[in-house]
């Protein structure tokens, strides 16, 4: 069987295929830029941010693990010691003009002994000094170091101290600094920020839960501020006339540990020239407290401090 094929049709199809193909090629030749991966975010208030970043004072006294970004051998201290001499020039060029560069070299050359035991004995607790930002070079740390050395401090002693001080690091700053040339180098070499990236045996993407000096979740002012802000969002008093500043309502709020209300807020007292207006202010405040729950951001470990929250609602800023 023979099929009659219209040549014009074939030509038309061929042309269409060509045009469409050309179009596809042209459009697809444009590099496709993959969209950036979206990141989950939480919107938090400044108070909550403060709470998070302040850390926890009464948190576990575990040694905070440094943020590790690379898997590698942990040998920062040895390198640091070794670099001290190599980076003399860097110290000179990068140190602030206030501090004379010359004294830097002298103690390092004069007292080569102390650094060695330091480097050998403290590979574990080394992360701390690296994280600390160097104090401004207003005072000459080397000069201080010299003074301390001049005052009969024998080299071995610091070694013992540091061994003992491996676990905590409450007040080791001056002692470490006085015998740690690597630290001196880091203090003076401000260019070295990127060099302090740590390597470890396992990746640890998150930083520690906060420093031991943080005010932590037991910072009462922090959760109080967050709570005030949360309730304030729902508080819509309607009076802004004369003597608004005289209207107040004291309300006690019984709370559950999950941040919800244990029972209805209790109006303890109302004050103001008009009883009905004062009562309306109190009722408005009660509605706000109930409406804005659950206050799940309240720190559970501090539940005793917010088991019953006594609050005063006022209108002094309404006019």
């Amino acid at each position: 069987m023979k099929v009659n094929v219209d040549k014009t049709l074939v030509a038309s199809i061929a042309l269409h295929v060509l045009v469409i193909g050309w179009g596809l090629l042209t459009f697809s030749s444009k590099a496709f830029i993959a969209p950036e991966e979206s990141l989950p975010i939480d919107i938090i208030s400044t108070d909550q941010l403060a709470q998070i970043t302040n850390g926890q004072k009464t948190g576990k006294k575990e040694e905070p693990k440094p943020k590790v970004e690379k898997i590698a051998e942990a040998k920062p201290e040895e390198d640091a010691v070794g670099k001290v001499t190599e980076k003399k020039e860097l110290i000179k060029t990068n140190s602030t003009p206030d501090t004379p560069p010359k004294p830097v070299e002298k103690p390092v050359e004069k007292k080569p002994d102390p650094p060695k035991p330091v480097a050998e004995t403290k590979p574990k607790d080394e992360p701390k000094p690296q994280e600390k930002k160097p104090d401004p070079a207003k005072e000459d740390p080397i000069a201080e170091l010299q003074k301390k050395l001049d005052t009969k401090k024998p080299p071995p002693k610091p070694v013992e101290q540091k061994v003992a001080a491996v676990q905590p690091q409450q007040q080791p700053k001056p002692k470490e600094r006085s015998f740690d040339p690597a630290q001196i180098q880091r203090d003076l070499d401000k260019r070295a920020a990127t060099r302090h990236e740590l390597a470890g045996s396992a990746l640890n993407a998150s930083a520690s839960l906060g420093s031991t000096s943080g005010t932590a979740a037991n910072n009462v002012a922090t959760w109080q501020g967050a709570f005030q802000g949360a309730v304030k969002r729902c508080f819509t008093p309607t009076y802004n006339g004369q003597d608004a500043n005289l209207y107040e309502a004291d309300i006690d709020i019984p709370m559950r540990v999950d941040g919800s209300l244990a029972s209805e807020p209790v109006i303890v007292a109302v004050r103001g020239p008009s009883r009905s207006i004062a009562q309306a202010v109190a009722e408005s405040a009660k509605r706000a407290i109930v409406q804005c729950q659950v206050y799940s951001f309240l720190p559970k470990q501090q539940y005793d401090s917010w088991k019953l929250i006594p609050m005063t609602f006022g209108l002094k800023d309404m006019l």
């Binding site: 109080q224 004291d250 007292a269 004050r271 008009s274 004062a278 009562q279 405040a285 006594p310 609050m311």
Partner: protein, 451 residues
Amino acid sequence: MNRRRFMTLTGSTLALLGGGQAFAQQPQQQGRLRIDPTEFRPIPIAITGFVPGSPADGDVSNGVTQVITNNLKRSGLFAPIDQAAFIERISNIDVAPQFQNWKTLNAQALVTGRMTRQPDGRLKAEFRLWDVVTGQQLAGQQYFTSPEYWRRIAHIISDQIYEQMTGEKGYFDSRVVFVDESGPKERRVKRLAMMDQDGANVRYLTRGADLVLTPRFSPNSQEITYMEFGQGDPKVYLFNIETGQREIVGNFPGMTFAPRFSPDGQRVIMSLQQGGNSNLFVMDLRSRSTTRLTDTPAIDTSPSYSPDGTRICFESDRGGRSQIYVMAAGGGQAQRISFSKDDNNATYSTPVWSPRGDYIAFTRQGGGQFSIGVMKPDGSGERLLTSGYHNEGPTFSPNGRVLMFFRDPGGNGGPSLFSVDISGRNELKVPTPGFASDPAWSPLLSATAGQ
């Protein structure tokens, strides 16, 4: 029909829940967290369509819903939620709503209601106010009235909601008397007119043959006193709203003007022109006896009583410029209370005492502008609420929370009525049929029903 008889307000309370806390003047306890909001936000409220008792009640049900919504919205204290956003449809107001549906809309309060024509022809209005957050009923009442007064029912329900949520009396069930102005500027016809506070139900009380000025309500809202330019000198008149009858107040040889009732309604205080001066006089409406209150070679005018009737405030140029003075209601030493801090040439006029007693409102002229403001009766706490080319003649709402005044933009236009909260917020134009000036707010009608 006598207004006292027109409505049977069966204030049968279905339930009134909530609160019950004793008012206590206790000192604030130590160690309490404080919250002092700095910004004002209206209360989100859901006003559901009133359910018609029968299909014939559909229009009146919609009308009541709209009036309540409009009242609360215009007060500036409430933010009615758009009905299009409602999740739940209320078909039976005797069943508790599903509060979660209203919490989703962030409503703090919910209004439900029903309008039903009774077999005797009267209209039955029921409403409930719910606290969405706690799920409690805050108010529930029913009223019976003649069908033509459905707007008043809506105003009364609005007042109930307002009072329940704010602790203050409402002001919606009230009227405004004003001077209606029509015609070209050079031949302006001025008529006495009266309307509901929201601009509805306008009634003209005079025909406009003679010029009228400064109308003021009596405390029971049954009479109006005003000044009219007749054949001779301008005189102060009394006008009975029910009967339409009018009479001249007193028989003084000169011009009398700027009248106002005393809080008990037994006296009218006014100015009497004598030569180039004018002084304040008060006339007892029963005995028709008059008493001179001031005797100065100056212009004393625009007197207004304090709510307790013991003092009056008025304007006087005895010090060289028009300022506001306060003195005892029986006369005596007057104390100047208006002192401009930033403009020594500023003048103050048209003082009016708040029904609540806490403020005196005034017109201030200075710096090429007319402003409406308030100050405390001792002159402290002066606050200008609005300023412009020409603002004048403030009058307080029955609860002292809102001021109405008139504004003339100049040019070939004419004046209009505006309202503003005493904090200076929520300035709104009051709808009138034409140009309007000299507004005077009545007391709350439901509060004066027994007077």
